[in-house]
């Protein structure tokens, strides 16, 4: 812990950036699997269950799971440490402040981050705890030996209008977070180049719109149908 604090401000940001980019990559995998909750193909439920089975039982994924948790913990922990240090760096605030031109979302990373963290906890209680056996899984028609019926767990949750609306709001906030995060990670890693930076910025913007849109289509489908 002391070692984590001891690292220089730049090293902290490098580590945060790498962890963040890793989490952003994971989000793509997560989305692709989630999309099979929607009736994209005739056998979408089977595909979803196969993917879930793979993600919960493959030994390689189990290793990645540890890396993923590490990524979350490091990113969140450093996010909080960096923010606390930043608040301490200006003990007396301005009376009239914040009129400088800056990217809008960059100002609210800690706020969007904390909202995402709260959702993450809810998300874990809903799904991951079931997998760990900490909470009882709701009996679904497809709960075959050893596997939990994540499909019906998801369908149950999305059938709740309030949950779906909350989910949509949180995912939009996640989009705000990603919008600044993507290009910021490259800047923190020192990867700035007159040729590639505009491309990275464009990819970041597209990513922060497309990924949340993908996640949102699922609750929207359940809200409509």
């Amino acid at each position: 812990m002391a070692k984590l604090l001891h690292y220089s401000s730049l090293t902290k940001k490098f580590i945060m950036a790498i962890a963040g980019l890793f989490l952003a990559t994971f989000l793509i995998v997560h989305l692709v699997i989630n999309l099979f909750i929607l009736p994209l193909t005739g056998n979408h439920v089977e595909i979803f269950e196969i993917a879930v089975h793979f993600m919960t039982s493959n030994p390689l994924i189990k290793v990645f799971e540890i890396v993923l948790f590490g990524g979350f913990i490091i990113h969140i922990l450093y996010g909080l440490i960096v923010q606390i240090q930043n608040w301490l760096a200006r003990p007396v605030r301005y009376k009239k402040e914040g009129y400088s031109h800056t990217s809008f979302f960059s100002k609210y990373m800690i706020h969007t981050g904390i909202i995402i963290l709260i959702f993450l906890v809810i998300h874990f209680i809903n799904f991951y705890f079931v997998k760990l056996g900490l909470t009882e899984a709701p009996e679904g028609p497809m709960a075959v030996a050893g596997d939990h019926d994540f499909y019906h767990m998801a369908v149950n949750l999305f059938s709740n209008t309030w949950y779906s609306v909350l989910y949509i709001v949180i995912i939009i906030i996640l989009g705000f977070h990603l919008n600044h995060a993507f290009q910021s990670a490259f800047q923190s890693l020192g990867l700035n180049h007159s040729k590639y930076t505009p491309f990275i910025k464009a990819v970041g913007t597209i990513y922060s719109i497309v990924i949340p849109l993908g996640f949102i289509t699922i609750p929207v489908y359940f809200l409509i149908s």
Binding site: K13, A89, R90, Q187, L191, N192
Partner: protein
């Protein structure tokens, strides 16, 4: 122009400060912001009161002494200039202007609008130099330097160390300043030799002095009177990472 000014008054570093409201009348549009304060100060002196203390020196926009946070922006509303170069025509007649000192833990207020920016010098002392005499201006092309590097170094060297980047940053981070100084030397052959040691020492000093961490909001670039680019910050990140990973362990 008639204006209402809300100005931070603080007797000394230890005293508790507060905002005082002043009304000024008949300010010419062509007066600079500091001249406007001079006019106000004369009227204060006429009333046998203590004038408002504020930093200024050359009034040509090159010394980096003036440091006023005006209506939520360092150096006021105009882009790419210091407050001494900013004129009253940037304000509407009858408007209210809030004037504050730079706010950051490493920049303690000395009096009124003056802050102590020694912290920036301390960072320079930590490594912002070339240890050996490099002589006078060398003959052209005696040391080959790429045109791009020379231009980038010159741009970085235009930093006047006013601290507007720290003042505007929501984290009170000094990254733009430090990265400009690191780049200005690291890009040229004379400075390259100590580059890895320099970047580590300056960053370490910056952290030690209590400046905040960079969160890439780029407010610094927007407010810098010398328009220093945040690409310098990326360069410093890159050099720092290279130095930490690649260089041998530092001794002393």
């Amino acid at each position: 122009m008639d204006l209402t000014l809300k100005i931070w008054r603080q007797e000394n570093a230890k005293a508790r400060g507060k905002f005082e409201t002043y009304k000024v009348k008949g300010i010419p549009e062509d007066a600079s912001f500091l001249e406007m304060l001079d006019i106000l100060n004369e009227s204060i002196v006429d009333r046998v009161q203590l004038p408002i203390a504020f930093d200024h020196d050359c009034r040509e926009g090159i010394c980096g002494m003036c440091s006023l946070y005006i209506n939520g922006r360092p150096h006021g509303p105009d882009e790419g200039i210091t407050v001494c170069q900013m004129h009253m025509r940037n304000f509407k007649d009858g408007s209210t202007i809030v004037i504050e000192p730079w706010r950051a833990r490493p920049f303690p207020v000395i009096k009124d609008l003056m802050v102590d920016r020694t912290a920036l010098d301390t960072i320079i002392q930590a490594g912002g130099y070339v240890s050996v005499r490099t002589g006078g201006v060398p003959d052209a092309n005696s040391i080959p330097i790429k045109k791009e590097s020379a231009d980038l170094a010159m741009d970085a060297a235009s930093c006047i160390g006013c601290g507007a980047c720290v003042a505007t940053c929501k984290n009170a981070s000094a990254m733009l300043f430090v990265s400009a100084k690191v780049s200005q030397m690291g890009l040229l052959p004379q400075g390259k030799i100590e580059a890895s040691r320099r970047v580590q020492k300056m960053v370490s000093k910056m952290d030690e002095l209590g400046f905040g961490n960079c969160t890439n909001t780029y407010a610094c670039e927007a407010e810098c009177p010398k328009e220093i680019k945040v690409t310098n910050i990326a360069r410093m990140n890159r050099h720092f990472l290279g130095a930490k990973l690649g260089a041998q362990k530092m001794s002393g």
